[in-house]
């Protein structure tokens, strides 16, 4: 399981975390991807990074499906606190709550937070 919990661009965590997801996908691991806290901003739609000079990596999240990564989740409360819904995201993760997140973590062997 890979967890995204930081906003994009201010730091590189989310981008290099995504590189890690794609590699794990290539290894045919049964991966879950989860967005919590500011990590949901990494998949916010409508990004245009031209003014910052930094590459917009959000389209790459759309490639998750091509890598057969289908277990993609987002935390309900994180969305609500940021006034967002799944319609505001570049992908369509399944919405779960914090207790489901906690349970999912307990069930996983591999676990990275970016």
């Amino acid at each position: 399981m890979i967890v995204f919990r930081t906003a994009p661009y201010g730091t590189i965590y989310a981008f290099e975390g995504l590189e890690n997801v794609l590699i794990m996908g290539a290894y045919d691991q049964d991966i879950s991807v989860l967005f919590i806290d500011d990590g949901i901003y990494a998949i916010k739609d409508g990004m245009n990074t031209e003014g910052t000079g930094i590459k917009n990596f959000s389209p790459t999240f759309r490639a998750l499906e091509a890598y057969d990564i289908e277990k993609v989740y987002v935390d309900k409360e994180s969305l609500e606190a940021r006034g967002l819904s799944v319609d505001d995201l570049v992908i369509e993760p399944e919405i779960i709550d914090a207790s489901q997140v906690a349970q999912m973590m307990e069930d996983q062997k591999n676990f990275f937070i970016f």
């Binding site: 906003a7 994009p8 201010g10 500011d38 916010k44 003014g51 910052t52 930094i54 940021r82 006034g83």
Partner: protein
């Protein structure tokens, strides 16, 4: 004094420190991940509006656009990098 805040208000206390240690009416510029404080409709909106009672708030357009944040709180002023430079012409800066 222009107060520069570049971290998310959901993760960091930088905006609170800027608000606490700044003279009334001194401006705050949100940039990088700091721009999330400018987003309308979040759980932070009420607190940000309180801070706006004491401080004019600006948000950097390049960082708003990069993050896909277009609905910003009424009364927050978008500035481009030229506007950032103009604010620095008018004020010394503190980077939180």
């Amino acid at each position: 004094m222009l107060h520069l805040v570049n971290t998310s208000p959901f993760e960091s206390s930088d905006l609170e420190s800027a608000a606490k240690y700044s003279a009334k009416d001194s401006p705050i510029l949100l940039f990088e991940d700091g721009i999330y404080a400018a987003q309308a409709g979040t759980a932070m909106e009420g607190r940000v509006k309180e801070i706006m009672g004491d401080h004019p708030i600006y948000a950097l357009k390049a960082d708003l656009e990069a993050r896909g944040i277009s609905n910003i709180i009424d009364g927050i002023t978008e500035v481009d990098y030229t506007g950032f430079v103009e604010l620095v012409e008018q004020h010394k800066t503190a980077s939180w």
